[in-house]
């Protein structure tokens, strides 16, 4: 096994093109588990930990640009204002040790339906930037995953960054697990309200072959939330929203939970998140 250590992005893309079978690794929190437990024996690891700039964040026009190697800890501590939903999700990942190492790019690259960053990135209309020696392309997060642990990432491509429209209103994230840390989500849900444009974003995790949005639920809230009056949420609206979120999922029975439980829990999470986000909107006055 080779350990390939490019130090800049161009070199990383050249190595990736030359050795497409090499497994990219940054924080190691997924890849090293597979190596330690002898589930995987790649011919090479492609270490992206020394690629300059990959662990930086900044702005790209109106978008927040988060480099693929930015760890969860920095998303929690540095981006809670700009990307609150993503920061809430990042805080629920693993443990402090895992959040010091695991990265948003790694979460995307693993393409797990349970990846914690997917729901808030879906709700925020985020876009993944992919690079290769052939050039750069941008893929909406909603189109990134093609199945469990499968994505549109080509063998010669690397994830450069995720581009997130800055929060334009309250965002919330919650996940269900057996404890408050170190769990793979049984199901997860993220919500973004954008009062300025009267739009709503959602993201569902761990309840379909890929992370998915709940378009009918988004349309319902966008049309029926009392945006102008900021009146309390009608209970009928909250309930209908929960039903539409649950209906958007296509969960399975597995070791972490049953499909029926996941659907039920998603409805609960959806009602809870819209309650909290709407309360924040009513109290905050922003936008």
């Amino acid at each position: 096994m080779d350990f390939l250590q490019p130090t800049d992005w161009a070199e990383a893309l050249a190595v990736r093109a030359d050795r497409p079978e090499a497994v990219p690794v940054t924080g190691g929190t997924d890849v090293m588990v597979e190596l330690n437990l002898a589930r995987r024996r790649p011919t090479a690891l492609l270490d992206l930990g020394r690629v300059g700039g990959l662990a930086d964040w900044g702005t790209d026009g109106d978008l927040l640009r988060i480099g693929a190697a930015v760890p969860y800890r920095r998303i929690v501590t540095e981006l809670a204002g700009r990307a609150p939903g993503l920061a809430m999700a990042a805080r629920t990942v693993g443990s402090a040790q895992i959040r010091n190492r695991g990265t948003v790019g790694g979460n995307l690259g693993s393409a797990s339906p349970a990846g914690d960053t997917f729901p808030p990135l879906l709700a925020a209309d985020a876009v993944v930037e992919l690079g290769s020696v052939r050039g750069v392309r941008r893929v909406p997060v909603a189109e990134f995953c093609t199945g469990p642990k499968r994505s549109v990432l080509a063998p010669d491509e690397l994830i450069a960054a995720v581009l997130v429209p800055p929060a334009a209103g309250p965002e919330r994230f919650a996940k269900v697990g057996t404890r408050n840390a170190m769990v793979i989500a049984v199901c997860a849900f993220a919500l973004a309200l954008r009062p300025g444009t009267r739009r709503v974003g959602t993201g569902i995790g761990s309840a379909a072959p890929t992370p998915v949005r709940a378009p009918a639920a988004e349309e319902l809230l966008a049309a029926e939330l009392p945006w102008a009056t900021r009146a309390p949420l009608p209970e009928s609206l909250t309930r209908r929203f929960g039903e539409l979120v649950a209906a958007a999922a296509s969960p399975i029975d597995d070791v972490r939970g049953t499909a029926a439980y996941r659907r039920h829990a998603l409805g609960v999470l959806a009602r809870r998140m819209v309650d909290r986000a709407w309360t924040a909107y009513r109290n905050g006055g922003a936008e």
Partner: protein, 181 residues
């Protein structure tokens, strides 16, 4: 491959490291530092917690090659007093926070980091900071007590926490205090 890095303040080198090898294996099997424990090998238990460039990480999940040129501090590298213990370790002893001891080195590093960042942590902060360190013996209550005790030591030098002080670090030997005025 060859790995050179600074471990506990000293330049160290390991040869013939396999590309898929973990930092934990290098520390334990090649550099003779068995403090960080090898248990789950999947980042679940925290017993291999070490500092990498000042941040606590699971050494089992760090590809050894990523440690090249970096700084590693293991439980063996924490500063100790005349009794050979760091105040966090002294608090663990005083609170009875150790049973089999396998999780202890990882917990000591995690608590050390917590108290560096939050000298007076709340209980929820303690629980969040230690969520990645599993203990199968103690039920955690004595560990939480040890963290509170270690934090008290940093907060003042009167009261029962005084016994956690190392005899050498404040110029007031324990013996002298026991004798009283």
């Amino acid at each position: 491959m060859r790995i050179s890095c600074v471990v506990n303040g000293e330049p160290r080198r390991a040869d013939d490291v396999w590309a898929g090898e973990s930092l934990l294996y290098v520390l334990r099997e090649r550099l003779g530092l068995p403090g960080a424990k090898n248990a789950c090998e999947q980042g679940e238990c925290g017993s291999c917690t070490v500092y990498l460039d000042g941040r606590p990480v699971c050494a089992c999940l760090v590809p050894a090659g990523q440690a090249q040129g970096r700084e590693v501090v293991t439980v063996e590298g924490l500063p100790v007093g005349a009794d050979g213990l760091h105040p966090v370790q002294r608090a663990f002893v005083a609170a009875g926070a150790v049973q089999c001891g396998f999780c202890t080195p990882g917990l000591v590093v995690a608590v050390h980091d917590l108290l560096e960042r939050h000298p007076d942590p709340t209980d929820p902060e303690i629980r969040e900071a230690l969520a990645g360190n599993l203990c199968r013996c103690t039920g955690y209550e004595a560990i939480l007590a040890a963290v509170r005790l270690a934090a008290l030591r940093d907060g003042g030098d009167d009261g029962p926490e005084g016994r956690l002080r190392d005899g050498g670090d404040d110029g007031r030997p324990d013996q002298g205090r026991r004798e009283g005025p």
